[in-house]
C-alpha cells in the first residue's frame, strides 16, 4: 500500500515538474526566437526607410522647383495686371498669397516627415528595438499630413490661381475689343 502511494506521489511530482518546466522554459525560448526575428525585421525596415528618405528628398526638391516656377509666373502676371490697372487684381494677389501659404505649410510638413524617417532609419536594432515601432508610427502620421499638405497646394493652385489668371485673360480680351478701357466692376 505504501509502495503504491509512493509510486503515485512520484508520478504526480514528475507531472508537476514537467508542467512547471514547460511553463518556464518554452516561453523564454519563444521570446528569444521572436527577438531574433524582430531584430532582423528591424534591419530590413531601416534599409527601406533610408531608401524612402532619399526618394522624399528628391521629391521635395522637384516640388519646390515647380512651386517656385508657378509663383514666379503669377508674380509676372500681377506686375502686368498692375501696369494695365486690372480692376480684379486682388483675385490674383489673394490666390498667390494663399498658394504661398500652402506651399510653406507643405514644406514644413515635408521637413518634419524627413526628420521622422531619419529618426526611424537610424535606430540601433540591437539596443533600441522597442523604439522602432513608435518611430514608424510617427513617420506614418507625418506622411499623411504631408500628403494632405501637398494636395492642398495643388487644390489652391487649381481652384484659385488658375481661375484668377483666366479671369485676367478674359478682362484683357474685353480691353482689346474696347480700347477705351474702363474698369468694369
Amino acid at each position: 500500500m505504501e509502495h503504491r502511494l509512493n509510486a503515485r506521489n512520484r508520478t504526480i511530482t514528475t507531472i508537476v515538474f514537467i508542467a512547471v518546466a514547460t511553463i518556464l522554459v518554452v516561453p523564454s525560448v519563444q521570446a528569444q526566437t521572436a527577438a531574433v526575428q524582430t531584430e532582423a525585421r528591424c534591419t530590413i525596415a531601416k534599409t527601406n526607410l533610408a531608401e524612402r528618405l532619399a526618394v522624399i528628398e528628391k521629391t521635395r526638391s522637384a516640388h519646390a522647383s515647380v512651386h517656385s516656377d508657378i509663383q514666379a509666373k503669377v508674380d509676372s502676371l500681377i506686375t502686368s495686371a498692375t501696369t494695365k490697372e486690372y480692376n480684379q487684381i486682388s483675385a490674383l494677389t489673394t490666390a498667390q498669397a494663399s498658394v504661398q501659404k500652402n506651399i510653406d505649410t507643405y514644406s514644413a510638413k515635408v521637413v518634419a516627415y524627413t526628420n521622422t524617417l531619419k529618426t526611424a532609419s537610424t535606430i540601433d536594432c540591437s539596443k533600441a528595438l522597442a523604439t522602432l515601432d513608435p518611430a514608424i508610427k510617427a513617420a506614418r502620421t507625418s506622411l499623411t499630413e504631408t500628403n494632405t499638405a501637398a494636395a492642398t497646394v495643388r487644390k489652391s493652385i487649381t481652384e484659385q490661381t488658375i481661375p484668377a489668371i483666366k479671369a485676367y485673360a478674359a478682362w484683357l480680351a474685353t480691353q482689346n475689343t474696347t480700347p477705351t478701357t474702363g474698369t468694369t466692376e
Binding site: R41, I44, A72, S107, L143, T146, N147, R154, A169
Partner: protein, 218 residues
C-alpha cells in the same frame, strides 16, 4: 703679378719694388753724368724673374695693405746703403754701384721682405642688395593675389548657384516665365502652363502605402 687692368687692387710688394726701381732709374736719367741703363756686360741677377708671383689664394682674405718695406735709396753716387728691413738677409758682398745693379738688388730683396699674402681677388664677392628680396616679395604677392582671386571667384560662383535655403530651392528661374502678358492669348497660355505643371506634380511618394508593413519589411 696682378693683371694690368686691375687698378683698384693694392699693389703687391713685388710691383711696388719694381715701380720704385723704375722711378729711381728715371731719376738717374736727369743725372748729368748718367750711367748706361744696361751695362756692357749683362748683369744676370737684374730682372730676378725667377721670383714667381705668388699664386692667388683660393680664399681671399681682405687684410690691411701691408706697409711696404722701404727700399734703399739709390744714390747716383756709389754710396753703400743698408737695407733697413732685411735683418735676416745677409748683406751682399759688394754693393751695387750702378742703377741696374740697384734694381737687381731691390728686386732681389723683394720677396725677402715680410710680404703678406696677396690681396688680389680673382672673383671679388659682391654684396647682395635688397633688390632680389623685393623682387621675390613682389612675385609672392602677385601669386597670392592670383590664387586668392581664383578661390574668391569660385566662392562667389558657388554662392550664386546654391540658393537652396532650409531644403527648399528658392532660386528664381533665369528665363522669363511665359509669354509677354500683354495679350489674352499669352495669359491663357500661362494659365495652361501652370495647369500642366500642377498636373505633373507626382505625389505618389506621399501615399500611405509607401510606409506600409509590406513596403517596410519585404
Amino acid at each position: 703679378m696682378n693683371p694690368p687692368n686691375n687698378y683698384n687692387q693694392p699693389i703687391s710688394p713685388e710691383d711696388d719694388a719694381m715701380l720704385q726701381a723704375i722711378e729711381a732709374l728715371e731719376a738717374q736719367t736727369v743725372d748729368p753724368d748718367p750711367k748706361p741703363l744696361v751695362p756692357e756686360t749683362p748683369v744676370t741677377p737684374a730682372p730676378v724673374v725667377v721670383t714667381p708671383a705668388p699664386e692667388p689664394i683660393p680664399t681671399p682674405v681682405i687684410t690691411p695693405a701691408p706697409v711696404p718695406t722701404p727700399l734703399p735709396v739709390i744714390e747716383p753716387t756709389p754710396i753703400i746703403t743698408e737695407a733697413p728691413t732685411a735683418p735676416t738677409t745677409p748683406e751682399p758682398a759688394t754693393k751695387p754701384t750702378d742703377p741696374s745693379s740697384a734694381i737687381a738688388a731691390a728686386l732681389a730683396r723683394g720677396p725677402e721682405t715680410t710680404t703678406p699674402k696677396s690681396t688680389y681677388q680673382p672673383f671679388p664677392k659682391k654684396k647682395l642688395g635688397k633688390k632680389p628680396l623685393l623682387i621675390i616679395l613682389a612675385i609672392i604677392l602677385v601669386a597670392g593675389l592670383g590664387v586668392g582671386g581664383y578661390f574668391g571667384w569660385q566662392y562667389l560662383q558657388s554662392q550664386k548657384t546654391s540658393p537652396i535655403v532650409n531644403g527648399i530651392d528658392t532660386s528664381v528661374p533665369d528665363e522669363d516665365p511665359g509669354l509677354p502678358e500683354d495679350s489674352e492669348a499669352s495669359v491663357n497660355s500661362t494659365a495652361s502652363d501652370i495647369e500642366n505643371q500642377v498636373n505633373s506634380i507626382d505625389e505618389t511618394e506621399y501615399k500611405d502605402e509607401t510606409l506600409s508593413d509590406a513596403a517596410l519589411y519585404e
